[in-house]
């Protein structure tokens, strides 16, 4: 590795980046746009689920139950049905996602100390949403039911029933159970993966396309000098992008930041190096800019989106897919980012994912140097 040759390349690349303000602007604005798009676009919370109610009793108590459905942000009463088919029709047509039927004698049964059953009809086309709605419905009913029980006991004196077991759940790290807090750190990883690979995947392909590579490889410059020299300016840009993403997460999306800034930038530097090198590998293999950019998207965006644990928990994936997730560095970066933002744990638990990212960068870097042939064959 000749330092002079490497620096000559870094300087040349920097000049070329500066001379192309449009591309530079794209690269600087891309994290802002992607963060906004994905930070707002991807939410796993369900609020204002359209609700339809068929209250067959119309008593004070049934209206109280209805109120407890409507009094939170999860349900939005769209229709008060007058008969069963009207409710079914509302769910069938998609106007409402959930239909609740309160039976006749609802208040009488409860008043007499008997359990009453209400029916909920849920549109489960999207089973994830359906599961969420079932959860919300059960929570509403459970809370209402506790109130009814207390009421009953107050009126009739404590019954010698089975002592109820109470779960006092405390949610840690994401106390408000805001899915955004959980998603935004993942979005940072997604954005960095896309930008990192995009930045470098074009630079070598461009030299092949313009014919400048032929002159370049006729000089004594080596593959490692070429890659290191080109890496330096893009690394600087990538770190600025990482800082932008982190700032947007913390100040705009107000995701709690509990870990160390050093850890954030250390992990970002490692991840960035890996994906920048991946970009080089892609562009060394694909000699046109178009092929390189398509291949870059395929190898970074999709794994970072699907296999990083960003939105879809890795634990719930089939074993074979779980193994595949270990190949992509996005998984480790997401782990670290979530920890740095939400948990604020120390460095120790993060050493393993850090090491994994070092290994990824080393393997890809080695493959790039080997894969870059200084010939036109």
């Amino acid at each position: 590795m000749n330092l002079g040759r490497m620096l000559a390349l870094a300087r040349k690349e920097t000049i070329q980046i500066r001379r192309d303000p449009r591309s530079l602007a794209v690269v600087m604005l891309m994290p802002v746009m992607l963060m906004a798009l994905m930070g707002y676009g991807i939410g796993l919370d369900q609020t204002d689920v359209p609700l339809c109610v068929y209250d067959r009793e119309g008593s004070q108590l049934s209206q109280d139950l209805l109120k407890s459905f409507v009094s939170n942000r999860y349900f939005d009463l769209k229709l008060n049905a007058h008969n069963y088919p009207e409710m079914v029709n509302a769910v069938d047509s998609g106007r409402c996602t959930v239909g609740v039927v309160i039976p006749l004698y609802f208040s009488k049964m409860l008043g007499a100390g008997h359990p009453a059953t209400i029916q909920a009809v849920i549109d489960a086309t999207d089973n994830n949403t359906a599961n969420l709605i079932i959860g919300y419905t059960q929570a509403v009913v459970a809370r209402f039911s506790t109130g009814v029980q207390l009421d009953y006991q107050q009126r009739n004196g404590p019954t010698l029933g089975v002592p109820t077991l109470n779960l006092q759940a405390r949610t840690w790290f994401n106390e408000d159970l805001e899915s955004r807090n959980f998603i935004v750190p993942g979005v940072v990883a997604l954005v960095m993966a896309v930008i990192g690979t995009f930045l470098t995947s074009l630079t070598i392909a461009r030299e092949w396309e313009r014919g400048t590579m032929e002159q370049l490889i006729s000089t004594p410059v080596t593959a490692s000098e070429l890659i290191a020299g080109k890496l330096i300016p893009y690394f600087v840009i990538g770190m600025v992008d990482a800082a932008t993403c982190a700032a947007i997460s913390a100040w705009w999306f107000e995701v709690p930041f509990r870990g160390s800034v050093t850890m954030l930038f250390g992990a970002s530097a490692l991840f960035l190096t890996g994906v920048l090198l991946l970009g080089f590998l892609i562009s060394a293999l694909a000699k046109t800019q178009l092929a390189a950019s398509q291949f870059a998207l395929l190898t970074t965006f999709l794994p970072a989106f699907l296999l990083s644990g960003f939105a879809f928990p890795i634990d719930q994936m089939p074993a074979a897919v779980r193994v595949v997730t270990r190949i992509f560095p996005a998984r480790y970066y997401v782990t670290i980012l979530k920890s740095v933002f939400l948990k604020g744990t120390g460095i120790e638990p993060l050493l393993a994912p850090m090491a994994a990212m070092v290994i990824f960068a080393a393997v890809v870097g080695g493959a790039t140097i080997r894969g870059f042939k200084k010939t036109l064959d």
Binding site: N2, G4, R5, L7, A8, L9, R11, K12, I15, Q16, R19, D20, R210, G211, T212, M213, E214, Q215, L216, I217, S218, T219, P220, V221, T222, K374, T375, L376, D377
Partner: protein
């Protein structure tokens, strides 16, 4: 011939090429090419497009791997040690390949950095390159804004920053105006006089005349090699005569069937005739022309040009039976 490869090449030989073959799939771009070039020589590759000139140069620069055969440049094997070869050569590709979005000075500095030319030496070489390319005072211009001749000379300057002993120029003057072409060749001659071995490919006949030695390439094969005068004299079997007449077309019809004329072809304003015996041919031609009433304006023996040689040699190469008959 293998013995010359294993033996230490003497100081004078800067490039040795032996049975070089390059195939792309089923297409043979370079077909058993063998030659040597000496220090300070201007060695020309002459041939039509696709004859293997660029491929041969690229192999010698270590940019393409030969399918078989050997090549040594500056004492280093191009297959085994391409990096050492690259230290000792300057290469200028056919297509302009400097960075258009860099200024003249930035391009020079960049290549200076790649060739490890630094400090006072870099300053001196950049000054030399700017002077040579007539770009003094324009060092801050974006390279993309320069016209063809300047770009070409700047590319040469970049390729020569490290004073390589061997230079490969692949069609350096294509798309360059005649004045720039002449200046370019003056530069080449000057380099050669300083002991630099210069390889040039071209399809301009007039440029080929400037070379010390020429290899004539056709379909990947060297069909003739020698100094321009050797080629001219050796290529034409017999003598060459020039015939100018009122009607070239009719004159051609008249002289072509004559037994005393081996070959006839239109060449500029006249016909070039290949004849074994000028005196006998002259009589037969005058007689035949008079009989058909075509007026002769000029009929004389001339020295063959390189173009004549090229035409004769390529005709012979593409028709091996005719060669066998002669």
């Amino acid at each position: 011939m293998a013995a010359t490869l294993t033996a230490q090449p003497d100081d004078d030989v800067s490039v040795i090429v032996e049975n070089l073959v390059k195939r792309f799939g089923t297409f043979t771009a370079v077909d058993h090419v063998t030659f040597q070039a000496h220090k300070g020589e201007v060695f020309g590759f002459l041939g039509p497009n696709g004859s293997g000139k660029s491929t041969t140069i690229r192999i010698l620069c270590g940019l393409l791997r030969p399918t078989s055969g050997h090549a040594r440049v500056a004492g280093f094997d191009v297959t085994a040690d391409p990096e050492s070869v690259r230290q000792h050569i300057g290469y200028m590709s056919q297509k302009f390949s400097l960075y258009n979005d860099l200024t003249v000075m930035e391009n020079l500095r960049f290549y200076g950095g790649l060739y490890s030319v630094t400090g006072a030496r870099l300053k001196e070489r950049i000054a030399w390159a700017l002077h040579m390319a007539a770009l003094e005072g324009r060092d801050g211009s974006l390279t993309g804004t320069l016209s063809g001749g300047w770009k070409q000379r700047l590319a040469l300057g970049c390729a020569l920053l490290h004073r390589p002993p061997i230079v490969f120029l692949d069609e350096p003057t294509s798309g360059v105006d005649p004045l720039s072409r002449r200046q370019f060749w003056e530069l080449i001659q000057q380099m050669a006089s300083e002991g630099v071995t210069v390889f040039v490919s071209t399809h301009y006949m007039d440029e080929a005349e400037y070379c010390n030695r020429l290899a004539l390439l056709m379909r990947g094969r060297v069909i003739a090699m020698g100094t321009p005068s050797q080629l001219k004299l050796g290529a034409v079997p017999g003598d060459l005569m020039l015939l100018e007449a009122d009607s070239l077309q009719r004159a051609l019809e008249v002289v072509k069937p004559l037994a005393q004329v081996h070959d006839a072809a239109v060449f500029g304003n006249g016909l070039h005739l290949v004849v074994p015996n000028p005196d006998a041919a002259s009589g037969a031609i005058r007689q035949a022309m008079a009989a058909t009433g075509v007026g002769i304006e000029r009929l004389e023996v001339i020295r063959p040009s390189l173009e004549d040689a090229f035409v004769a040699l390529t005709a012979r190469a593409s028709n091996p039976e005719a060669e066998a008959r002669q």
